[in-house]
């Protein structure tokens, strides 16, 4: 079967000694940075992106994928041990995970988190492999109108599934779209909004924007808030789960996996929505719902499996259609483009070893994480006892060095500082930066497709509504907006975010 031969090709690429080393390195440093409280996968990828540039594209992407899972796993570790979620999708893990840690059962929580994530990751990799070819064949039927409408759907989805004011989120998306237009216009070759600065003729560097908005800004906010990061002093014993714990948690893992695999493909929430939904489903279907929030193992198993499954299947739209469904994957898309690969349906046919190599390395990365991280938990915890005031200068230093290495010029560092200032302003005004990044990555593509679509239809905008696939996407986008605007759903959404 073709699937098997594709997977074989993937294995050949992913398990080559060099790529294995990169995968392992990525997973390790991803976990290392992800374990640091307050630094989630987005910041981790932003900080570590420059280290992948010197590598060939396949290896670079494999390492990035390793960093991604490593960061997710590191974030779970911090959620359980220190009650500080690395990012939104780890919030749910804190609820029961930290309680378990306080009861001396941190080992069990960490173990089920790793095992559940592995099972979920394996299942999701299969889903990814199975869906890849049919989806990209579907994508070939996409014309510019369909792409444009799909991107609109993706952007609206990210607004709807995010927290906070929807109007401001839409504003951030549009601002991101505009920022993406700085630089040289692809179609006409004209310089736009560059104010005569030569370094801007390629546009704002993606790395600068990401590091400024997420990395630097995050540090500034943490210092300002004077966060006390309470480290768990008690000894970590009892790593291994008892058999009865495993039996109890198994259905939770399965439910979480299914939940995550499905929701990960959707634009917008992905892992976040998956972990919340899995937790709520678990709570509703449990025989002891009142024990949730007080240290129920299933309350850790389900969301952890869900968010790992979602993390994997969220690669589906990126690798097949070229559309990143959420912020982290927007960063991966940015990284792919920096390595010279245009994410989209052609990647399967033009670079099959890259495509299948990355998919297989996801599974390999999951395996490595389970094998490496459980014994290393002790080290991660010791890392957490470094006071934040000593840690953040190190983080800033790595960011600055990384930034310089991108283009060997100092302008990028200054630009990042400016983005950091912007990020600070956004944070003060309660505007979320995540939709902005999504808009930034998609902006140029959206414009190109819009122009092409209008050119092909000779200026007739109805083409977006008369072509069935395009119409379908636009209707889904509108439907999502309506669903969220309805008061009852709005209240449930607020409740879901209040739980975290």
């Amino acid at each position: 079967m073709e699937l098997l031969s594709n997977l074989a090709l993937g294995f050949q690429t992913a398990v080559s000694p060099m790529n294995l080393v990169y995968c392992m390195t990525g997973a390790l440093i991803g976990t290392l940075i992800g374990v640091l409280p307050g630094i989630g996968p987005v910041q981790t990828i932003a900080i570590l992106l420059p280290t992948t540039f010197a590598l060939p594209p396949v290896s670079g992407l494999i390492m990035l994928a390793g960093i991604y899972y490593g960061a997710q796993y590191g974030g779970s570790t911090t959620s359980i041990l220190v009650n500080v979620p690395g990012e939104a999708s780890s919030v749910v893990t804190c609820l029961d995970g930290y309680q378990m840690a306080r009861q001396g059962r941190a080992g069990a929580a960490l173990t089920i988190s790793a095992l559940g994530s592995f099972v979920a990751g394996s299942f999701a990799t299969v889903v990814l492999a199975v869906l890849a070819v049919p989806l990209s064949e579907l994508a070939f039927k996409f014309g510019p109108a369909e792409y444009f409408s799909l991107m609109v759907f993706g952007l609206i989805g990210s607004v709807v599934l995010a927290s906070g004011s929807m109007a401001k989120a839409v504003g951030m998306i549009v601002l991101g779209l505009l920022l993406g237009m700085i630089g040289t216009d692809i179609t006409s070759g004209v310089h736009r909004f560059t104010f005569g600065v030569p370094e801007l003729s390629d546009g704002i560097g993606f790395v600068s924007l990401a590091m400024g908005l997420f990395g630097i800004c995050d540090i500034i906010n943490s210092i300002e808030k004077r966060e006390k990061r309470d480290i768990l002093k008690s000894k970590l014993t009892g790593f291994w789960l008892k058999m009865k714990d495993l039996k109890a948690a198994a259905p939770a893992v399965l439910r979480g996996t299914l939940c995550g695999s499905l929701l990960g493909i959707l634009p917008g929430g992905g892992a976040i929505l998956a972990s919340f939904t899995a937790y709520m489903i678990e709570k509703k279907s449990s025989s002891h719902p009142e024990s949730f929030g007080k240290g129920n193992l299933c309350g850790v198993a389900a969301p952890e499996s869900a968010n790992n499954a979602a993390a994997q299947t969220s690669f589906v739209p990126l690798l097949t259609l070229g559309i990143p469904p959420n912020v982290v994957l927007a960063m991966m898309a940015g990284a792919m483009m920096i390595h010279g690969i245009q994410p989209g349906p052609r990647v399967i046919s033009s670079n099959p070893e890259l495509f299948w190599g990355v998919i297989v390395s996801m599974w390999v990365g999951n395996l490595i994480l389970v094998l490496l991280n459980l014994p290393l938990v002790g080290i991660w915890v010791r890392l957490l006892s470094v006071p934040y005031r000593l840690l953040y200068p190190a983080i800033l230093l790595f960011c600055c060095i990384g930034l310089y290495s991108v283009n060997n010029n100092t302008f990028d560092i200054g630009l990042t500082a400016l983005c950091g200032l912007l990020g600070y302003v956004f944070h003060k005004l309660e505007c979320e930066p995540a939709p902005l990044i999504l808009g930034f990555v998609l902006g140029p593509m959206m414009e190109e497709n819009l122009r092409r679509g209008m050119l092909l239809s000779r200026g007739d905008p109805s083409v977006f509504f008369t072509r069935p696939l395009s119409l379908a996407f636009l209707l889904m986008a509108v439907a999502m907006l309506i669903v969220v605007a309805l008061p009852s759903i709005r209240r449930k959404r607020e409740d879901a975010f209040k739980e975290g």
Binding site: I223, P393, A394, L397, I401, T410, L429
Partner: protein, 155 residues
Amino acid sequence: MSIRHPKDFLAGVMFVFFGASAMVLSLSLRIGTAGNMGPGYFPFALGGFLALLGLFILLRGILWAKAGQAWPVVDPKPVGIILLSVVLFSQILRPLGLLLSTAVLVLMTSKASHEFRWKEAVLNAAVLVAIVLVVFVYFLEFQLPVWPAFVTGRV
């Protein structure tokens, strides 16, 4: 008339500013028609949309939001020190080299924290200079000027 939701109000102002700027800057580019969009078309349209959206958010913040929200509180010290340190780093990296710039960056940024202690910061700087040398220069082979220009005679 007091502003009910200052953060939304200010966010609206910000969006209006960015939207209007985009529109004004786009005017110097060719706008074109719907069927033949010039480089200025999409930015102009987006700018207009953003400005209108900003106006809506602004008015919502004044007129019909939940009343009594707080103004944003800004502590200039952390953000000022951190950002200035980063910019400073970018300016001294080439002339002073990586090692000195690292030390300066670590010392300056440490000052932003309210838990700052001189001895710790100096020790931290020393450790990080060593780490940077080993990891970035020897191991990962980043192309960075290591020693100050007046030492190596570098331009």
